[in-house]
């Protein structure tokens, strides 16, 4: 091979590598990114069965039920709709009634959301941003709640 051909083949190899990496990245984004919904959004959103989503809202008052062992069930609400969530494991320290929460998991066929992770806020000033934005857009957010 001449020097020019060599250089071209190196460049072609590099481009093929970058192309493969880019393809993989966007494939993974399509497959692995999980969408965020509030309970009221769910009626309009078309979910694939078994699709992982993040569900956020407030923990509805009086709905926290502790089951066997570490199982727990509660409702997530945006003051328009509620979704029942089940979770097995340790809840975050700041998980409380009427506080913002984000759960991640999938829907069971009977409409119960099975979460495998539950996130609450990091400190008393902070509401998960998605939840705060979602509540604001639904007009049920009171600014004083953030204080």
């Amino acid at each position: 091979m001449t020097r020019k051909q060599k250089r071209l083949s190196v460049i072609a190899g590099g481009l093929a590598f970058l192309g493969a990496a880019t393809g993989l990245t966007f494939y993974a984004l399509g497959q692995k990114a999980s969408y965020f919904y509030m309970p009221a959004d769910l009626t309009t959103a078309s979910l694939q069965p078994g699709q992982r989503i993040r569900l956020g809202g407030l923990v509805e008052k009086g709905t926290i039920e502790r089951g066997q062992g570490t199982a727990v069930a509660f409702s997530v609400t945006d003051n328009q709709k509620q979704v029942k969530v089940t979770y097995t494991g340790i809840l975050p320290d700041l998980f409380r009634e009427e506080q913002g929460v984000i759960t991640e998991g999938t829907f069971r066929p009977d409409g119960v959301f099975v979460a495998d992770s539950v996130l609450a806020k990091h400190d008393e000033n902070y509401m998960p941003k998605e939840v705060a934005d979602g509540l604001k857009s639904k007009g049920v957010w009171q600014e004083s709640k953030s204080d």
């Binding site: 590099g14 990496a21 993989l24 993974a28 062992g69 902070y126 979602g134």
Partner: protein
Amino acid sequence: MVETGHFALVLAFALSLVQALVPLFGARINSQKMMAVGGPVAVTGFALTALSFAALATAYATSDFSVANVWDNSHSLQPLIYKITGTWGNHEGSMLLWVLILSFFGALVAAFGSNLPATLRATVLAVQGAIGATFLLFILATSNPFARLNPAPIEGRDLNPILQDLGLAIHPPLLYLGYVGFSICFSFSVAALIEGRIDASWARWVRPWTLVAWMFLTGGIAMGSYWAYYELGWGGFWFWDPVENASFMPWLAGTALLHSAIVMEKRSALKIWTLLLAILTFSLSLLGTFLVRSGVLTSVHAFATDPTRGVFILCILTLFIGGSLALFAFRASSLTAGGLFHPISREGALVLNNLFLTTATATVLIGTLYPLVVEAVSADKISVGAPFFNLTFGPLMVPLLVAVPFGPLLAWKRGDIFAVAQRLMAAFAAALLAVLVTALFIDGASVFAALGVGLAFWLICGALTDIAVKSGLGSVAPGIMLRRCAGLPRSVFGTALAHLGLGLTTLGIVGTLCFGTEKVLSMHAGETVQLSGHTLRFEGLYPAQGPNYSEDRGRFALLGADGSTTAEITSSKRSYPVRQMTTTESGIKTIGFSQLYLSLGDEATDGSVVVRLWWKPLVTLIWGGGLVMMAGAAMSLMDRRLRVGAPSRRRKSAGAVPSASLP
């Protein structure tokens, strides 16, 4: 004192403007006097910033609640160490620390840069001054840490309990030393572009700064990872959280820079690429600062959100990244290309390293920014988490790790891949043995787990092979070999140590992810539980009182084979009354390189307590490997040719002579 601090900060801002303009202009018109201004101004600016920082730290240490920032983030009952570390446990204070470290590096260039060509030194200091000026303006205009409250409150609002930990004393300073350390590489690159000249000696000046920054960034990330691991009580060491990615991207790019700077220094090749990498690395540091400080991301790091700050940092970001890249586009063509090499050579291996690392950086960047972009254009909220990164970052890293042991053994210019493969036979055999032992003798080992262990051993043994081969193993007598080994350049040991550390970290990750076990259960006092051969007995909950919190301590006894207690592990639920926050303190018992990790959950009505237990095999190697990598960087820094003050043979010609290649 507080007003002194504020005043010192304003003076530092004025001086940084002088530092940004006068030496730069002096270098253009070749005025020695104007160029000489840069050094003293940089040192004075550092002293003033340090004074300002000391003023804030004093206000924190003495609990001066008339300062709004102290009131918001401190409490008189906090232990003194957390009062002091609270200085940077908030937005304003942490930005001040950022600028302090920036001016510290500027002062270092001023102090130790006497062997730099005068115009280069002046231009570097000017760029450094410009960065300092914008960030000082940012602090003064949007994030003043010295604002007073009148009347002064009697008591403060306490520091976020999650931050009341020794980790806050170590993680942010180390991380910032890393982040901001890359500003020197950036300033050198911009200076080289302005001057239109770059050569091997430029790389010799830049490489030690890259090493220093990389060393601290490695430590900062490792420390942050360990802190999150034990503090958050989730037992994970890396979450692919956008804020973690913000520090990981400069690390990946910085690692690439570290390697390409070698090529430039030794072979005078890859000049333009190295320059671009230096710009990109610091740009990613700035982007990280923006992501963490602007409030576009929510995390434990986002102390408070104020939109004006976000816009301000975005402007700084645009100015420096856009400006430097535009300068690069205009001026890069004026730089001459360097030495040629065969694809299979040390240079080729380092190019491969760069290709993989920059691609990996790009995937992390895309994964981190994609949710922000999607939200901006479609209002859909999505999150990109571990599954994405495992699918993209993983496949990119594996071939790179496989290639690592080959690199240092290949010759410069034209290497012999078969000869190198032959030398690596022993390492390969060891890796193969590790795979077989794992697959055959460890219960529940998957194929991936066995291959992962093999990969780790391949890296570790490959690093050792590098030293053995360069000492002449097998070809010379043991005595001569030892003498040769002692005579090897420190940078050879540095490389081997860093690669060894990488192997150890890999082993730790594979061990924890593939062989770790976990149990969640509710326990009554007196009950025992088995986990991976360890027996734990729950002794019960005991209330206790701390300086500014009360806690329930869950006491656990680790039982020996005969049923006697061999160790006690405590995990507690702490309640901080001021912020009305609860935190979980995990209980950790280190056994060899592995850890038994337990964290307490809620108390049920029947008096039982939810307990989460993990057995994490080899987990400490993850951070131990980071320490070994740091040691490698420190070793390389001690190399004769990089040591500060070592006689430099090429000091007069700023120039044309490429350095001789080492054997």
